[in-house]
């Protein structure tokens, strides 16, 4: 099937198998390997991207469902010279170690901050419940999200 989607501001029309997943299109067709795959049951959040402004697990979205959508990945939110405040906060607070969960974590956290009023520590912990990190114990991730909340 043919799908047309905008990814990080650029429009792509691609011929994909019916069962292709959004994450496969991003990683394998568009070379956007910042979006990771950490599980096969939609439970780790390593693959989170934004679709029309909302965080989605791209391993759980068919490419066809993304037809016409505006998708943003970790590669699209900031650059080395102009980091997104959430990227900045993750680095400042040492909210990453191996970095594997980080793109999904950052994308989920941006959506969480944007969609929640009066976000506090418990709100961050509850809101990131769909994203696993095996390295950081979450302590510094929580600090980073709260710091970014004040700068976004």
């Amino acid at each position: 099937m043919e799908v047309t989607l905008t990814v990080n501001g650029a429009s792509h029309t691609l011929d994909v198998p019916d069962n292709a997943l959004l994450v496969e299109v991003l990683r394998e067709r568009l070379g956007l390997t910042g979006t990771h795959v950490g599980c096969d049951t939609s439970q780790c959040g390593a693959c989170v991207v934004h679709m029309d402004g909302c965080a989605v697990k791209s391993c759980t979205v068919l490419a066809g469902q993304a037809d016409g959508a505006d998708v943003t990945t970790i590669e699209g939110i900031g650059t080395v010279d102009a980091l997104h405040p959430m990227q900045e906060a993750f680095r400042d607070c040492h909210a990453l170690q191996c970095g594997f969960c980080t793109p999904g974590m950052i994308m989920a956290a941006i959506d969480l901050v944007q969609s929640t009023d009066d976000l506090d520590e418990q709100g961050v912990r509850d809101g990131l419940e769909g994203n696993l990190c095996r390295c950081t114990g979450y302590h510094n991730i929580v600090r980073a999200v709260l710091a970014a909340r004040d700068n976004m």
Partner: protein, 784 residues
């Protein structure tokens, strides 16, 4: 030490973060080779079966399928077994029994998920379809799952009677028995240390490539120690000689031990790449990680502590059955012995200790090192037992520890279980932890919880670990099959920037930052002028990788040796330039200066002079400025500390909430406190996970019941608290940086602290891990 700036002791932001936060990290699965094929493994659905026949004809007809190989194909090609690198001896002096472990099963399968074939195709989908089309005949046999009764069950391996790998002992049995005979009190516990599944967030992966023109094999894989991978694949499995086998570990998404080992999958992938003369790529699905990554822990233990009536420890007796799983993984045998029995003194002056460990085979995934590796299990035994003794004698748990601590003046201290601790101040950490948790206020907090119908408990864990693996002479005399030193190279470039090449490997630890801090501090050059290279056998000398909290203690020490050589060579060059002798040259803050004159050369000028040797006396002074060093530690390092956990248990639901967790650790000198704290946080979370959430469970038929994130409960952000982390410092006495290592402490200390707190809250002697709400609720008296 620098509080600010970028030197040793500064909380420098990590260099590697820029690529990770922008999505530019490069993990194995991000790597593609031109024309690559895709691999899918055939895995046993049975825990124990003989393989009747494997019919691959239909699979080979699937469009896109290139090849199907089975264990017999690898065997026919001379591919050897996956070896275990540590030979443990039994009490009677006999060698442990190592059953054959072919990378792909040939005649028999022994655990669910064991690979017996590999399907390779032009696309991943075709490989999956091909795997579906393979018809294998299995003769199902009864599975041996329960480790405690495995000795009386069916024999799994022809060469292993009673399914026993070894029956090992350590310590003085007679002296220990005598201590128990004289004791006023004996505290005893039956302990099950639950099986854990490591779950690094990046699944294992491998991309094998073969260049027919040069005969060179290149394997990109998720390894914590690429040189060891190359050594095993070359020397034992015999894929190719080391000179024609390059192993690259690019960015690796966590390991926690599980990526130390040499597995079947990368072995089959690199072999198949050579066979097909085509690159082959494989990435594990998470379900495969659950089935086929080496698991951790899984001990059944009986432990007893003999005491006098005033709480003085007299003797410790420990009897453990350790589950090896179906085969011996790369370092499996060392974990419940030399990384476990040797730690039974803990922080205490217990004069007599005797440990027995029987290692058994079962029809479960192989068990090997997982963060802490043996030391969390030892800490759990000692610290649960000490807490039990305090309760038995109605003593304060802090006081009973204090009374028995090895004191600062006792170092170096030789324990009854083969180690010599170099330094420590255990009371300092305990006191600081008591202050942070507000121990004095605990009684009031408990009363407040109880007034609300809840329970509250406090639990201690004063752990010790042996890290900085390892002094090679000691390790080899105890059965290690490899040296455990580390290498470093400091390459000064022509204009003064520096490339550091280390045999350590970072899979989250931040070596690109900390190692650069060490070198920039020593050489007095900007941090940005130092680049750290690791993870590629083609770029670095032989190295042993990263595990056992060894990188800064061993790899960092090698780095110091190499920078010392750079400074010495720099002095020679400057002395030549100034027509004086080296002992007239001082080096401070990046400047070589002649004593008693105002002549000096900056580091970059010396570098340039080294590579533009206009008039070097060539038989005394070689051009260039690049030095290597290998460092073999003189002893282990001994990080230690006290962790205190406070829990509140909901009286109605049995849900345990960690209301406070304090960790005070002595890691010796610290290079980057920000990174050290992060390491502690992550370890604590894993330790808490073991206590409250995680459990790898097989049913009686040997099926893995907890094979996905739906059944295996990983700690999530809302399961853990923010932590209070602090340090005390007694510098390590035998390495140049005075460092001890910090990677495993959290996971070693936390589990016992949590379970001591939960049992304290419930007023019960013990509780099986994980202490899930259901388990706790039953202990509260809920209907069973």
């Amino acid at each position: 030490m620098a509080e600010n700036g970028t030197g040793i002791g500064a909380a420098v932001k990590r260099k590697e973060d820029i690529r990770f936060i922008t999505g530019a990290g490069r993990y194995t699965d991000d790597i593609d080779q031109a024309g690559q094929a895709y691999a899918v493994f055939l895995r046993s659905p049975h825990a124990r079966a003989t393989i009747g026949g494997i019919d691959t004809a239909a699979a080979l007809q699937v469009p896109g399928v290139v090849a199907v190989y089975t264990g017999a194909d690898l065997a026919a090609d001379g591919i050897g077994d996956l070896p275990c690198g540590w030979l443990v001896k039994s009490k009677d002096g006999s060698d442990m029994i190592q059953p054959p472990h072919p990378p792909l099963a040939v005649e028999r399968v022994n655990y669910v998920g064991e690979p017996y074939g590999i399907v390779i195709a032009d696309s991943l989908q075709a490989a999956r379809d091909g795997a579906e089309a393979v018809a294998a005949d299995f003769d199902d046999l009864p599975a041996v799952v329960d480790v405690a009764t495995a000795d009386a069950a069916d024999q799994l391996h022809e060469s292993v009677p009673g399914n026993q790998c070894y029956d090992w002992e350590l310590g003085d049995k007679a002296a220990t028995d005598a201590a128990f005979a004289d004791a006023d009190h004996v505290a005893s516990l039956d302990i099950i240390n639950n099986r854990l599944i490591p779950n690094a967030m990046e699944p294992r992966a491998a991309v094998g490539d073969y260049d027919a023109a040069s005969g060179v094999y290149t394997l990109h894989t998720t390894s914590q120690n690429p040189h060891l991978e190359r050594l095993v694949l070359a020397a034992f499995v015999q894929v190719a000689p080391e000179s024609r086998l390059r192993v690259v570990s690019p960015d690796v998404g966590g390991g926690f031990g599980s990526k130390i080992f040499v597995y079947a999958e990368e072995t089959a992938v690199i072999w198949a790449a050579g066979k097909l003369r085509r690159a082959v790529k494989w990435r594990a699905d998470r379900s495969e990680s659950f089935l086929a990554d080496a698991h951790g822990r899984d001990h059944v233990t009986k432990a007893e502590l003999a005491l006098s009536s005033d709480g003085t420890f007299l003797g410790l007796r420990v009897k453990t059955i350790a589950n090896m799983g179906a085969y011996l993984s790369t370092f499996a045998s060392s974990v419940p012995t030399y990384l476990y029995g040797t730690l039974m003194a803990g922080q205490y002056k217990t004069p007599a200790i005797y440990v027995e460990v029987r290692a058994m085979f079962t029809n479960t995934a192989p068990v090997d090192a997982y963060r802490g590796a043996g030391r969390p299990e030892a800490t759990y035994v000692v610290e649960r037992l000490v807490e039990t003794a305090a309760r038995d004698l109605s003593m304060d748990p802090a006081e009973i520890r204090r009374r028995n601590f090895i004191q600062p003046e006792d170092f170096p201290y030789a324990t009854p279980v083969a180690l010599t601790y170099d330094t420590g101040d255990y009371e300092a950490s305990l006191d600081k932890a008591l202050e942070h948790i507000d121990y004095a206020g605990f009684a009031a907090r408990r009363a407040a919880s109880e007034a609300n119908g809840n329970r509250r408990g406090i639990g201690f864990s004063s752990y010790i670990e042996a890290c900085g693996l390892a002094p090679s002479q000691v390790a080899i005399s105890l059965g290690a099959g490899v040296g455990l030193f580390e290498s470093a190279e400091v390459r000064v470039n022509v204009t003064g920037s520096v490339t550091v090449i280390t045999g350590s490997h970072s899979h989250g630890q931040g070596h690109e930052t900390t190692f650069a801090q060490v070198v920039s501090d020593r050489l007095g050059i900007p941090l940005d002028d130092v680049e750290v290279v690791h993870g590629d056998t083609a770029r670095s000398d032989y190295g042993l990788g990263t595990y056992g909290s060894r990188s800064i203690a061993v790899g960092g020490s090698a780095l110091i040796r190499a920078t010392d050589k750079i400074i010495a060579k720099g002095k020679k060059i400057v002395a030549h330039n100034f027509e004086t002798t080296e002992d007239n040259i001082d080096f401070t803050d990046g400047v070589f200066a002649e004593q008693e004159s105002n002549r000096s050369m900056a580091f970059a000028e010396v570098a340039f002079a080294a590579y533009v040797p206009a008039n070097f006396p060539l038989d005394e002074l070689e051009p260039g400025l690049s030095e290597k060093a290998f460092y073999d530690p003189g002893n282990f390092t001994y990080p230690a500390g006290t962790h205190i956990c406070e829990v509140e248990i909901d009286g109605e639901t049995g849900v345990s909430t960690i209301v406070a967790f304090v960790a005070v650790d002595d890691f010796g000198n610290v290079i980057n406190p920000m990174i050290v704290e992060g390491q502690v946080h992550g370890g604590l979370c894993q330790g808490i996970g073991q206590a409250l959430l995680e459990h790898g469970v097989y049913d009686d038929a040997g099926q893995l019941v907890t094979g996905s994130y739906m059944d295996y409960c990983m700690p999530r952000a809302d399961d853990v608290p923010s932590f209070t982390v602090d340090t005390t410092v007694t510098p390590c006495t035998h390495n140049p940086l005075g460092v001890k290592g910090c990677g495993e402490a959290g996971a070693i200390g936390a589990t016992a602290a949590v379970m001591n707190a939960v049992t304290d809250a419930l007023g019960v002697k013990s509780l099986p891990m994980p202490a899930t709400p259901e388990t706790v609720w039953k202990a509260l008296g809920g209907a069973g």
